[in-house]
Symmetry: C2
Subunit: 226 residues, 2 copies
Amino acid sequence: MQFNPSEPDGRNNTLKSGINSTGLPEPNKKYQVPARCGVAVRLKKGQAITIENTHGTQVCDFWAFQDQNNNEFLSMADTRMCLESIFPKTGDNIVSNTRRPMFKIIEDTSPGYHDTLMACCDLNRYKLLGCKGYHDNCTDNLRMALMAIGLKAPLIPNPLNLWMNIPVSEDGSTSFKPTVSRPKDWVKMVALSDLVAVMSSCPQDMTPINGLNKKPVELNFFVTGR
Amino acid sequence: MQFNPSEPDGRNNTLKSGINSTGLPEPNKKYQVPARCGVAVRLKKGQAITIENTHGTQVCDFWAFQDQNNNEFLSMADTRMCLESIFPKTGDNIVSNTRRPMFKIIEDTSPGYHDTLMACCDLNRYKLLGCKGYHDNCTDNLRMALMAIGLKAPLIPNPLNLWMNIPVSEDGSTSFKPTVSRPKDWVKMVALSDLVAVMSSCPQDMTPINGLNKKPVELNFFVTGR
């Protein structure tokens, strides 16, 4: 079967859990990214988004596209190159696939382990882990969160995996560990251009990245400025 | 200006250095990837490509697309996740953005430091390093190598950077070091489906990744099987 980047492999409540049909947020209003689902939000240049790890155990897959050209998107490979680090931290700009800064990270109350290495989970990830049938996944959440505000994923960029704890050993081997963040830790990022951001409360419940009890939960977020 | 993934920011000899207009190789014939240029080659399932680091100092940016669907391409983020390592090695499969194995690495005479973390260089990379005017770059080489056989880059995937030496420290910081490979080291990979592979002799001459004397040189390759 031919791979179509825009088309979900299955459906979940992400199609109905958008903040509204435009994705335009009400400033200072607290919104939820429901457990196992995704939400898209439009940000204007200068607005900040604060994402709260409500229970401390939850990974947030995070993507962004330029509002006027979705061929330009947040790129981890370019971010690592610009930062000369695999860990973006407070004060850093995270950049697009043209190396244009898209966000500045201005607050991070967590210990700062955010993954830039791993692809977002997709249905094939869960099949390879032994899952039969459909499993919620961040790739589909991205697709459906964009569909919920009338957009299409032109491709599936590699996300910034907030709070995802992937240590890299000296020999290059990686491991999938529980988050080291705490309840109510937050990350605050300022948008440096008009863009569409998407968050997914990662539905991974077959490895311990969302805590040793492998229970995906909700995240909160709000937008400030303008 | 809107980002167009298919359109080169400038031109070089890559447009004329294709092996022929179809990209179909003559088995066992040695071809060159000229210094600072790129070459595309079509591989049938079961054919192997051997890439030779002729002088030992040269990084080869390497990409692949499924021949019948260029939305499916070699993906470093998915490869890292499947291998649980940032360093692919002999015996490993490297996979597409659907986690389908695209190649098996069957021989590697080098010490095995191949980078999966860094975006390919583009014109903006050289501007950020202080370059004025045009500079050859791997992104444009990918675009032009595909144009030379009548194709278009649908996007710019993050490449497998053969022989590129990017150590990662315990704190996550990365550095750009000269290759540790030797003259005539080679990597041999078997194609696991029909695909289009692209190689670029990285034109980086402002950091020491292509050796301390910063002199990009040519690579050789040949295809065996069928």
